[in-house]
Amino acid sequence: MTQPPTFLGKDLIGLEHLEAEQILAILDTAETFKEISERPIKKVPVLRGKTIVNLFFEPSTRTRISFEFAEKRLSADTVNVAETGSSVTKGETLVDTARNLEAMRIDMVVIRHSASGAARFLADRIPSNVINAGDGRHEHPTQGLLDLLTIRDHRGAIEGLRVCIVGDVLHSRVARSNIWGLLKLGAEVAVCGPGTLMPAAVETLGVRFFRRIEDAIAWADVLNVLRLQLERMHAGYVPSLREYNRFFGVSTERLAAAPRDVLVLHPGPLTRGVEIDSDVADGPCSVILDQVTNGVAVRMAVLYLLAGGRPETAEAAKGGG
């Protein structure tokens, strides 16, 4: 049995193939759902009776917990599956896992996987709704959405803003979801970092490319700073973390030179003193913890809409406080 089509379609795999109206509706629904997390009893019966599997093939703390809170606050029944380092290869596990889930008649799957395309692969093979919680270097749509919501909260609108994504764009699913979401909502988008960490022909996505952080900061209203993983140094993409910080790190001094107030986002986890200095992360420009709070609301909105909810009835669905 295939689920009936919803406002978002069957699945949420990425922001590349969503319309601007769909993205805005998710943000508006999230806005409505934010209040649930502020109640003394943080639970509404929106997804009562729905079963959701959180299928994490890659270690994740914050995304998994954020999804789990969103599910539980909407009263869904959830199961967490963490598949790491089994003797079977990931791909084989994926096919068999898909078939087993199908046999158990679950309603939704939230999947995190190290291979780009893994969420699409699963979505094409099971009738349940599939939510991509990060697939390889492809997309991480709920992260993109929570970034959009946070920027909108602080700047009022996305359209016309200049947003620069700083750092390891090559390996970043967060970057791709941000680029698509921001462009669809009318922002100007740039990326900044050393050429070794940029995907081929990155400008063809519709973004500018700054090779120097000073130029990016002079241009941008918003910086979304990506995590630089230690492995990138070992693999030779950058000579050292120290040098990376020196030439590409976001510091108070660099922000002080900006012609305007710059909003600073970071998807976490932070590597303080590498891509971002502590006084920036903890300072007045930073909205990093707002992102985390918004993450739960955005995920509630996505779950609600994929379960067949309509944006215009979200207020009624969640009931009074």
Partner: protein
């Protein structure tokens, strides 16, 4: 002794002799007896009606993976050789990257014997350049050639060590075989699963840049020039690669080279949706590269069309893109794809296509094939160049189904394949 066979009433196209006119072909005792107009039917002869069709030398594919020994769940020498006949190929050259690899005379003998036992398309073993395909020590090239190997290659991976490649090219000269090279600089392709470009950036897949291939083609051409050895560049996919080969040949380097049907018909857009049947190494490239490969096949810079037939089991391709193996099959679609993308698009004529699929590859590997000259092996392919058909992978003779062309409409179809003077394959009526 088989009965004589008269292939009657077709248009005979034999690029080895520049022959292209209506004629009959008489095959006696497994060899070509005569080609000409109005040949009489000898007593007891079988006849094959070729009216409305083209009769040409049996196709030759210098690049197939038959997976035997070791991976018979993907293909065997017998099933691969049957798929070859269905695609009009009467001669195929089996790559040595099996398990164990074909790197000594006993292994060469095994492939040869299995091919003869199957009694389908002629199977010529290709030996390894290095022991165990490890890229370190030269394999016993002389003994392998003595046992029946027609070329050497470490295909599937490059000969990374330039010194070893130099020695292979020099050493192989004593035995008259070419060194076939899979050109790839591993430091530039590592971790990659598709062409590096706009599509890989969108899909979040690690790309393999053209330079990974171009740099190695350039190196091997210089080494061929240094040694005077015979270099055969496998599956060329880039515009620069075709330019390098063209320039080297013009200054006298002994180089032959392949273009594959998938590289001159598809681009990296075929990967969209993470389609693992379009995952192949070297990868499907940009439109500019595709067009350059097609043009290079047309002008003869790439003098062979080769399929790089690479069977994989369903389960192996039914995985996330990064986890699936490289490779696709091509024996049963090669003619249709080539007719549709080269001849129908006006890049060259049928006679040139037949050259690239028979005479060209036979000469590159020094095989007794690719010609219908009297006295030659009685291997012929009868094709209907205007037949429209739809690819249905379920009907393939290959043991595997991993084709990106399933469901495609193609023009040009094999009607019958004649091997050693007898009809070995006949297409079912559509």
């Amino acid at each position: 002794m088989t009965r004589p066979l008269l292939i009657r009433g077709g248009r005979v196209v034999d690029p080895s002799r520049g022959f292209d006119e209506p004629a009959d072909v008489l095959l006696v005792d497994g060899r070509v007896e005569a080609v000409g107009g109005g040949l009489g039917t000898p007593d007891g002869a079988e006849t094959l009606d070729a009216s409305g069709c083209v009769v040409c030398p049996g196709f030759v594919d210098v690049h197939v993976h038959l997976r035997e020994p070791g991976e018979e769940h993907k293909e065997s020498i017998a099933t691969g050789a049957l798929a070859a006949l269905a695609g009009g190929f009467t001669t195929i050259c089996a790559m040595p990257n099996t398990d164990p690899p074909i790197d000594d005379p006993a292994a060469v003998g095994f492939v040869l014997a299995a091919g003869l036992r199957a009694g389908r398309a002629r199977v010529h073993p290709v030996g390894a350049v290095s022991v165990g395909l490890a890229g370190e020590r030269l394999a016993p090239v002389g003994e392998m050639v003595e046992a029946g190997a027609v070329a050497i290659t470490d295909d599937g991976r490059p000969v990374w060590d330039a010194g070893l490649m130099r020695r292979a090219l020099e050493y192989a000269r004593s035995f008259g075989v070419p060194v076939a090279s899979h050109c790839e600089v591993p430091e530039l392709s590592r971790g990659g699963s598709m062409n590096e470009g706009v599509v890989s950036t969108r899909l979040g897949l690690i790309g393999i840049p053209n330079a990974a291939e171009d740099v190695m083609i350039a190196r091997d051409l210089f080494l061929a020039e240094l040694t005077g050895g015979r270099l055969h560049v496998q599956h060329v996919t880039t515009r620069r690669g075709t330019e390098l080969i063209r320039a080297a040949r013009e200054r006298g380097v002994a180089v032959t080279a392949e273009g594959t049907p998938h590289h001159f018909s598809l681009t990296d857009e075929a990967v969209e949706g993470y389609r693992t049947h379009a995952k192949v190494n070297p990868p499907l490239r940009s439109e500019a590269d595709r067009a350059a490969v097609a043009a290079a096949v047309a002008d003869g810079t790439l003098d062979c069309i080769a399929t790089d037939h690479a069977p994989h089991h369903y389960d192996e391709k039914e995985q996330a893109f990064d986890d699936a193996p490289f490779g696709l099959i091509g024996l049963e679609t090669a003619l249709g794809v080539s007719m549709t993308y080269l001849v129908e698009k006006g890049l060259f004529g049928l006679s040139d296509l037949i050259h690239r699929m028979s005479t060209g590859p036979a000469r590159a590997f020094g095989l007794d094939a690719g010609t219908l000259a009297p006295g030659a092996a009685g291997d012929a392919t009868v094709i209907d160049p205007s037949a429209k058909w739809t690819v249905d992978a379920r009907r393939f003779r290959s043991r595997s189904r991993n084709t990106p062309f399933d469901g495609w409409s193609l023009t040009g179809r094999v009607v019958a394949t004649v091997l050693g003077g007898a009809v070995a394959f006949r297409a079912e009526e559509a």
